[in-house]
């Protein structure tokens, strides 16, 4: 069921009403039922996959939790009678059996994701290699990727590893744990939540609080505005440009990049606003996933403000474990000896970064586009890290660091760089993308921007008018958000202004939204990940 479908809106409204009618202690059960009902629309086989992941993770975490408790009580009982070595040996024994459960469950959960998502990709690569030796071809598996599998798998893995690290005890009630994994708003495209964050909120009842409901509703409407009025309206132009690389080159590639950056931002942040809005109406606070990413002045900063929960997930469950693992410590010792202290230190860090970015890329999609997307991001981060001394030299040569113009330059540079790399999502494959990058420099057709060619991209004057109107509002809101939440500020203003804002936004969605016959409302981009 799409977020932008009438059924979903009906489902949402009825859920809100029932949620606040029934007694608080049944609220989490209602949410669980609603989440599975929502998920069943994407097919019962998908429900089977998510249930399997839930059960496997639940039992593995339970077992690991029990072992923690056993260890604690055992150590407390014979506190005095054990020597340091015995205690250490016992701990090792418990640790290794816990590790066994952890690895089995990880292999299982991530295995499902890998098989469903990457089999065809692997087959196609094998085929392309075998085609060189014109050996036979393997036929493809026709499995549709379950909705949101990448998100709920990562959320379950996060929970399992936290329990293994003893951060908190596992959830005893399988129903409650199932709700944590399948909580429908975040199921489709995140944010990827942590159990100690979301768990208790889901299970504790929430009374009707007008402020929550009104703020939540506003956020939902704001999300729909970005998705329907901006993202879906600019989509045809992005499609025209990126699906006909032979006709649209040179300046069009830049136009395509900027348009796609706008579309992806509006689509993804819009979807997350709807998600967080829904949770807020239900009295649940989800983690913010964006913090005005396009105002960041460097790539590293951009990746701390875009898709934050994914970033922190990869940092806590991939980057740190990898870079602190014994293997990596050995590498750092080896590199420090061979290459000297200063550069030697960097090798393990960069190696872990590459690993993380490769994982991020492949997680985004089963194709070389995304792998290269990840690696390019990694390259930019590493190069800018390496250029630190150059930056330092540059800054004390011309002290422009504070100047507004320089900040503007940095923001512009980061925006263009990120959009350029991000366009890999759209082009058919990597070579085409690189050909397009190259065409930007070689094919000079800037004049095409002004001779009305823009109107042939599937957008007419009216569309551009709406897009400009929408983007200006989006930028204005982001600027205002820097000094506090818009909704707080708005609630302080007189009624007429508030009424105009809420209803104006609502009506502009109804009238200017790109939905209905002729637009066929599109899935959220991140739905297919």
């Amino acid at each position: 069921m799409l977020f932008t479908s009438y059924n979903f809106i009906l489902f949402l409204l009825s859920l809100f009403i029932i949620y606040y009618i029934i007694p608080k202690k049944y609220q989490w059960m209602l949410l669980l039922a609603a989440s599975f009902f929502f998920y069943s629309f994407s097919g019962w086989d998908n429900v089977a996959y998510i249930t399997v992941t839930i059960i496997a993770t639940y039992f593995a975490a339970l077992k690991i939790g029990q072992l923690h408790l056993q260890q604690e009580s055992y150590l407390k009982e014979n506190k005095g009678s054990l020597s340091k070595e015995e205690k250490k040996a016992y701990k090792e024994k418990v640790k290794s059996s816990q590790k066994k459960y952890l690895l089995i469950c990880l292999f299982f959960d991530l295995g499902i994701l890998a098989v469903l998502k990457y089999t065809n990709f692997v087959i196609s690569n094998i085929n392309s290699i075998s085609r060189i030796f014109n050996a036979g071809e393997i036929s493809f598996l026709d499995i549709a990727l379950p909705m949101g599998i990448s998100f709920y798998t990562f959320q379950s893995v996060g929970y399992l590893v936290d329990v293994y690290r003893g951060k908190y005890l596992p959830e005893k009630n399988i129903g409650k744990f199932a709700l944590f994994v399948s909580f429908f708003p975040q199921l489709v495209q995140g944010p990827i939540s942590r159990f100690d964050d979301l768990g208790h909120q889901l299970y504790s009842g929430h009374g009707f609080d007008f402020r929550n409901v009104s703020f939540g509703m506003q956020r939902i409407i704001w999300g729909f505005f970005k998705k329907l009025v901006i993202a879906d309206r600019i989509l045809p132009a992005v499609k025209t440009i990126t699906q006909n690389p032979d006709t649209y080159q040179g300046i069009y590639v830049l136009v395509g990049m900027v348009f796609y950056a706008v579309q992806l931002y509006a689509d993804f942040t819009g979807g997350i606003d709807i998600t967080i809005g829904i949770a807020e109406v239900l009295g649940i606070k989800l983690k913010e996933n964006f913090e005005r990413p396009f105002f960041s002045k460097s790539t590293a900063e951009y990746w701390r403000r875009w898709h934050i929960t994914m970033g922190t997930w990869f940092r806590d469950y991939v980057f740190y474990p990898v870079s602190v693992s014994n293997a990596m410590l050995k590498v750092s010792k080896f590199s420090r000896e061979k290459l000297g202290e200063k550069t030697g230190k960097r090798v393990p860090v960069y190696l872990s970064t590459i690993i993380v970015w490769f994982a991020t890329g492949i997680w985004h999609g089963a194709s070389w586009n995304f792998i290269v997307w990840g690696l390019l991001n990694c390259l930019v981060i590493i190069v800018s890290q390496e250029l630190e001394p150059f930056y330092a030299w540059f800054h004390n040569r011309f002290n422009v660091r504070g100047k507004f113009i320089f900040k503007l330059f940095q923001v512009g540079r980061t925006f263009l760089l990120m959009s350029a790399i991000r366009i890999l999502d759209c082009y058919r494959n990597v070579p085409v993308t690189f050909r397009m990058y190259w065409s930007v420099f070689t094919k000079w057709n800037i004049n095409e921007l002004f001779n009305g060619a823009l109107l042939k991209l599937g957008l007419d004057k009216a569309d551009y008018f709406v897009l400009v109107f929408g983007i200006i509002i989006m930028i204005a809101v982001s600027l205002a958000q820097r000094s506090g939440s818009i909704r707080e500020k708005l609630s302080a203003r007189p009624e007429i202004v508030r009424y105009a804002a809420y209803v104006g936004l609502f009506i502009s969605i109804i009238v200017f939204g790109a939905y209905g016959i002729g637009y066929d409302s599109n899935q959220f981009i991140y739905n297919q990940f």
């Binding site: 007008f210 004057k461 009216a462 209803v503 109804i510």
Partner: protein, 360 residues
């Protein structure tokens, strides 16, 4: 809970918003006043104060282009109204009849059987033209359910703004002029056209794999027959004298058998074109697909005599009130005729019907 004062404010705000949306909706919905007049046919019936007709026609362009209620009145004193719409399918016709019976009880209902050949919804535009004009009612909901195409959503018929919102960039003066009041484009449902385009060729008849009408069509025809029987109305099945789309003999046979089984009157005018006096060189405006004014008057004169005798419909021209009403209608009828002739003289074609064709 929330303070009562706040609830009152919310209620007021909600009402204002709803009013705003209703206004926007009527602005954004197409008006069908200067082009594609066929879209305005259905809604006209509800603005007719004198809903007292002995004969009701239902069907597609083969009724609203080929019969003239004013002629039926002038020649035989028969009061009639045509509830036609562009490519009206049989389920549209049935539910339209069901709804009309809420307003009045005619003596005779005339249904053109061409739509028996369509066993599935054809085009969203035709659905909208057949349904948007109807006021919200249970019958309308049933009709919507029966006629929706796959990509259509039910809610967009309840709140048409959800469908027509994208027209904001195509609004013309017409949309503002006819925001609240609409002109009358027909004469009791007859869409007059005086222009002439002689018949040249009749396309060859193509073989079909299966000539039998589909079950769904027979189902609705049975429902229509049943509804008329229940209300003591005479159902007359007709096939208008048009040369395209082709009316196969096998189809004609099926309608004859059906009429016999349910003892209904079935007339295939294609067999009586000479008696009616139709001359396809002067009586059609699109080379034989539809009749023009002179053709429609001839057909009405011929058909009026049959149904008056068959069902002894009273000649109500002596009813003082009715004749005053119909005299006014006759004046409008003549004015329209003269206007169209003048336009034809001046432009060589009728603007209202040809504006889209020229830019095709």
């Amino acid at each position: 809970m929330i303070a009562p004062k706040k609830i009152a404010k919310l209620a007021v705000a909600a009402l204002i918003t709803i009013a705003l949306l209703i206004l926007l909706q009527s602005l954004l919905m197409p008006k069908y006043m200067t082009e594609i007049l066929e879209g305005a046919l259905i809604s006209e019936y509800y603005r007719e104060e004198n809903k007292d007709h002995d004969v009701i026609f239902i069907g597609d362009c083969e009724v609203y282009e080929n019969f003239s209620p004013v002629t039926l009145w002038q020649e035989y004193g028969i009061t009639s109204f045509i509830r036609g719409s562009a490519q009206q399918l049989i389920w549209h016709s049935y539910y339209l009849l069901e709804e009309t019976l809420k307003y009045e009880k005619p003596k005779v209902v005339v249904f053109n059987v061409l739509s028996m050949k369509y066993d599935r919804p054809q085009k969203e535009a035709y659905n909208r033209m057949a349904l948007d004009g109807m006021p919200l009612s249970v019958t309308k909901l049933k009709s919507i359910k029966a006629s929706m195409m796959d990509d259509e959503k039910f809610i967009t018929y309840i709140f048409p703004i959800l469908r027509y919102h994208s027209r904001w960039s195509e609004l013309t003066a017409e949309d503002f002029k006819y925001l609240f009041k609409k002109d009358r484009v027909t004469h009791n449902g007859y869409l007059m056209r005086v222009d002439v385009k002689p018949l040249t060729t009749i396309p060859t008849e193509r073989k079909l794999a299966n000539y039998r009408f589909s079950d769904i069509c027979y189902e609705y025809l049975d429902k229509m027959t049943e509804l008329c029987k229940k209300n003591g109305i005479e159902l007359v099945l007709i096939k208008a004298p048009t040369i395209y789309p082709h009316w196969y003999d096998e189809w004609d046979k099926q309608m004859e058998d059906y009429a016999e089984e349910n003892n209904l009157l079935y007339i295939n005018f294609l067999k009586y074109t000479d008696e009616i006096g139709i001359d396809y060189q002067t009586d059609t405006y699109d080379a034989g697909l539809h009749l023009n004014l002179s053709g429609a008057e001839k057909l009405s004169r011929y058909f009026g005599k049959i149904i008056q005798e068959e069902f002894n419909l009273p000649d109500r021209r002596n009813d003082e009130k009715l004749s005053r009403i119909w005299a006014a209608k006759a004046d409008l009828y003549v004015q329209e005729m003269e206007k169209q002739y003048a336009e034809l003289e001046e432009l060589g074609y009728l603007k209202a019907f040809n504006s889209r064709r020229n830019d095709e």
